[in-house]
């Protein structure tokens, strides 16, 4: 079994509104899977179905080879986008309570809690009330709560919102560490740079339909434009431009460099990079030659605005 989570043709309607239209996903075991989509695309509806908060109208969910059922609750950890804690309850008690709701025994919950409090260096918070903590501190607690029961599947909905860069980094490291241990992570976000950084696989949902799914690199390959960013130092700009425009399409490029070179973005079409390179080397000193890889952001905007 390669996929920890399979979503098969899930449909969910609210009255006349279709929130999910035959959406299927395959989330490989041990991967970080980015679930992307604009607001109102149906991400939260899907996440709620996976969490068994609501039921799909049709379609099925397979978790670890079994049809999704109530006992699976303890294998799933969920950090919702809109999250909070009981304001007047003490941190320790609250974490124990929430862990026990997930099916942990009290002693096991305590053990895990101590481990995480040590790890995140928040031992002193045990007897504090949530209302005494800052927003960022409370979010750390929320992260601990959703991983305490060592879920197989961890669903993170915008996990970095509200974190300062330092804490966001700590959480990012923890996510990567969990992945190392074999946890599968479903990661829903708008922040594309964290997708680039963390995700192995992505899926893009737009207007209740899944538009793209696959390994991050495969998707990028699919969206490659065969454009190259070129930096060249030359005394004969006119000759260079004439030679290039004969064969390729050219537009100005912007990238950082220390030289005062000519910066171009060149689309080579069906030609090979070597053909372009040969031409350039002949005309001047090449300082920069990089394939322009589409960012997730580009892919996102391109797909959604289609």
């Amino acid at each position: 079994m390669n996929n920890l989570l399979e979503v098969n043709k899930v449909v969910k309607q609210y009255g006349d509104y279709t929130a999910l239209n035959e959406v299927s996903l395959n989330v490989p075991k041990g991967s970080i899977y980015g679930l992307l989509g604009p607001n109102g695309a149906g991400k939260t509806s899907l996440i709620r179905i996976i969490n068994q908060i609501t039921l799909p109208d049709s379609g099925e969910i397979i978790l670890d080879g079994e049809k999704l059922q109530p006992k699976h609750i303890q294998h799933i950890g969920y950090l919702p986008e809109e999250r909070g804690l009981y304001q007047s309850m003490k941190v320790g008690e609250q974490c124990l309570y929430l862990a026990q709701l997930k099916g942990l025994s009290k002693t096991e919950a305590k053990k895990q809690l101590e481990y995480w409090f040590d790890r995140l260096e928040i031992q002193g918070w045990w007897n504090k009330k949530i209302q005494e903590l800052s927003k960022g501190m409370a979010q750390k607690i929320q992260f601990v709560v959703c991983v305490l029961h060592q879920p197989k599947l961890l669903i993170l909905d915008e996990p970095f919102s509200g974190f300062d860069p330092v804490n966001a980094n700590i959480i990012k490291d923890e996510i990567l560490a969990l992945k190392q241990k074999g946890t599968t992570i479903l990661f829903s976000t708008h922040r594309m740079e964290s997708v680039e950084e963390l995700c192995d696989e992505i899926a893009l949902i737009h207007q209740s339909n899944k538009l793209i799914e696959g390994k991050l690199n495969d998707v990028k390959r699919q969206f490659r434009t065969n454009s190259y960013e070129v930096g060249i130092l030359t005394s004969d700009v006119e000759g260079l431009m004439f030679a290039i425009t004969q064969k390729f399409t050219v537009s100005p490029a912007h990238f950082k460099s220390l030289n005062n070179e000519l910066k171009l973005e060149i689309n080579i079409g069906d030609a090979t990079p070597n053909e372009l390179l040969n031409l350039l080397v002949y005309k001047g000193q090449v300082t920069h030659f990089v394939e322009k890889i589409p960012s997730v952001n580009d892919i996102f905007i391109q797909t959604v605005s289609k």
Binding site: I53, E82, L98
Partner: protein, 440 residues
């Protein structure tokens, strides 16, 4: 430990630890005692003696009135018949008299029925007027009898005074005056149930709204079913209510027990006032208190307390299901008002029915019917219990109450489940109805 008992435990602890719970539980009985003492102190306070000037030209009634002076101290009649009426009229106000009773001299005193005047700047109390009318009326009656040459002594001896002895079929004797205490106890408990339902129902609603506005609800319902959360919340909160009631009962019973020993009332099912205490010359107040405490012991205390718990739990379960659904439907407490009104109404209605119909006729049709209807039965039945209710009626009423609860909780859970995930808009009744039809 099962999930529901975990939730119950958390809800119970969070309610009981709350400062306002502790304050309410221990401060309100003190407050109650303080208010009772204060009121009885106020009512026992002797008012200033008011002087009433009498100008009795006939001279027939003045002695009877002056004879009233040493009965209670409130009014003191002063015979000023020798002073000129006109002068009296002018001077009573300055002379700090409350008023002037003017009895004319027009021959036959038996024709004075409508001729006697009371002149004062302020309106006199009803009891004063009745007292004066009574004294003068009796005197005129006596004069009339004499005029007819009837033996007034023989007539007085011939008058009889009937006292009805009340008893139950089961053989226990009930004592006169018991009805007052039954009304009081029944009313107090009925009122208490209403208060508890509103108070603890509101607590459930607040806690649902809190979870919703906190957004912790998303985390919780990814672990537990909304239905379990709702039931756990309702039950946990009810336990806090029962605890509070038990503390109050223990406090109340110990006060009564203490008072009983202090005043020499034998405690227990065969409660009676011990003879040696009776024989002692004691003032009226102590013996009245003794009588009331005796009556309290003679009430079916166990049934009343048990009845309170059963009807509080049943009524509270029923109403708090509504409260939970409302809490789930709205985003903040101000939005809840339009939905709360229909809930408060039957509660208020049952208190009115209790105080008017039950008190009038505890086993009358209205009282019986409303002690069966589940929305009113917790209060109405509780008010009837001190008067004695057949067991089968209680059984039917409790069955209907809990049966309705199971029906209502099913509807409430549907609204609750949809509502807790809806943010930002205040739903209409129509919308709530639509939620009922949602699946999954």
């Amino acid at each position: 430990m099962s999930i529901i008992s975990l939730i119950i435990k958390r809800e119970f602890i969070s309610k009981v630890r709350n400062k306002s719970f502790v304050v309410m539980t221990f401060l309100s009985p003190l407050l109650f005692v303080a208010v009772t003492v204060f009121i009885s102190y106020l009512s026992s306070m002797k008012a200033d003696t008011k002087r009433i000037a009498i100008h009795d030209a006939s001279g027939v009634f003045v002695h009877e009135l002056v004879a009233q002076n040493h009965k209670d101290g409130e009014y003191k009649y002063v015979d000023l018949s020798l002073i000129d009426v006109l002068y009296l009229k002018d001077s009573i106000a300055n002379q700090s008299y409350e008023g002037l009773l003017l009895i004319p001299d027009e021959g036959d005193a038996t024709t004075f029925e409508n001729k006697i005047q009371f002149i004062a700047n302020t309106s006199p109390s009803i009891s004063f007027i009745e007292n004066v009318q009574d004294v003068i009326g009796k005197k005129i009656t006596q004069l009339n009898l004499q005029k007819a040459h009837l033996d007034t002594l023989a007539i007085r001896n011939a008058q009889s005074h009937v006292v009805l002895n009340l008893a139950k079929i089961s053989g226990e004797e009930t004592v006169k005056g018991l009805n007052e205490i039954k009304i009081f106890i029944g009313g107090a408990f009925g009122y208490l149930v209403m208060m508890f339902i509103i108070m603890y129902g509101n607590m459930v609603m607040r806690s649902v709204i809190e979870e919703k506005t906190n957004r912790i609800i998303e985390i919780i319902i990814s672990s537990v079913k909304p239905f379990h959360l709702m039931i756990g919340k309702i039950v946990g909160t009810s336990l806090a209510g029962i605890l509070q009631f038990l503390i109050w009962s223990i406090l109340g019973l110990s006060i009564i027990t203490f008072a009983s020993y202090f005043l020499g009332v034998n405690v227990g099912p065969t409660a009676r006032i011990s003879p040696e205490m009776m024989s002692q010359g004691q003032n009226e107040f102590v013996s009245t208190v003794q009588m009331y405490i005796l009556e309290i012991w003679n009430l079916p205390i166990a049934s009343i307390l048990l009845g309170f718990i059963v009807y509080f739990v049943g009524g509270y379960f029923l109403y708090s299901s509504f409260y939970a659904a409302i809490g789930a439907a709205v985003d903040n407490q101000t939005d809840s008002q339009q939905f709360l009104l229909p809930i408060i109404m039957p509660l208020v209605l049952s208190v009115y029915i209790g105080f008017f119909s039950v008190v009038n006729d505890p086993n009358g049709t209205i009282a019986v019917v409303f002690s069966m209807i589940p929305l009113t039965s917790p209060i109405v039945m509780l008010m009837r219990i001190p008067f004695g209710v057949p067991l089968w009626q209680i059984a039917i009423s409790v069955t209907i109450l809990f049966g309705t609860f199971f029906g209502v909780v099913w509807f409430a859970a549907k609204i609750y489940r949809v509502g807790i995930l809806m943010y930002g808009k205040k739903p209409s009744w129509k919308e709530l109805y639509r939620w009922l039809k949602y699946t999954g």
